[in-house]
């Protein structure tokens, strides 16, 4: 056997020994290597999370839908006559019972003026 062949055979035996050790890797080390891989994958830089992009579009769609529904409630638009009055009612600090009985108080006031 030539010098080169002897060297190749020697290196081959060393490789065989190293391969064998790799095959006999204990469970604990294998588990730790798996955990290391998972940790590395979690460090993957992400410019923008996918869920955020999807969530953003969903929120925009829901907002748009809400505006459209409110806009078209009872067929009213901001320039319809009752719209401003409704807004005033919603924003007033008066007792809601007073507002509900407003017609009665107006009628009472008229009656007193007549008397």
């Amino acid at each position: 056997m030539s010098q080169i062949d002897q060297e190749k055979a020697f290196v081959s035996r060393l490789k065989q020994s190293l391969d064998q050790r790799l095959d006999e890797l204990d469970d604990e080390t294998a588990t730790q290597l798996y955990a290391a891989r998972q940790k590395a994958l979690r460090s993957l830089p992400q410019s923008r999370p996918r869920w955020l992009a999807v969530g953003g579009w969903s929120a925009a769609a829901v907002s748009l839908l809400l505006v459209m529904v409110l806009w078209n409630t009872d067929g009213q638009s901001p320039d319809s006559p009752g719209f401003i009055e409704d807004l005033e009612l919603l924003s007033t600090n008066e007792d809601i019972e007073f507002i509900e009985d407003l017609d009665f108080y107006l009628w009472l006031d008229d009656e007193q003026q007549v008397v």
């Binding site: 035996r13 060393l14 020994s17 190293l18 391969d19 290597l33 891989r37 590395a40 830089p45």
Partner: protein
Amino acid sequence: MALVATGNRDEALDIIQDAMIKLVKNYAGRPEEEWPPLFYRIVQSTIRDWYRRQQVRSRVMSFMGLDKNEDEFTLEDFPDPGVPQADEAMNNTQAARLLDRALHRLPLRQQQVFMLRAWEGQSTAETAQAMRCTEGTVKTHYSRAVHTLREILGDYRP
């Protein structure tokens, strides 16, 4: 490879962990076929960084008189290749330990080249790329590593 270089399981796992994170952070966008050579390169440079830190630490400990070379091998750890062993049936564990110690005795660069070429099956060019050196340097390191290992291990039989 990291285990052979450090001789310590936990240190080796730390090196691999660091290398994996560096690969993912810096090269996740690269084509998949480029990952293995990049990973080898990162592992090799991480091992070299570890080795330099160890040398500094060793010098400081030595300066302070606290050095304690528990891992230092003596000639008795290695069988004389010229003399037949009393127990010819040397078991695999013993053989693996001897191989470990022999690899550990190689200079770091020779050890890295040997592991990449002989064990990982990397070509001279691939090894040069991983080691960031010329192919000529790889050939020199490999030749010296094999020569030294043969001197230490003789007719190694796992």
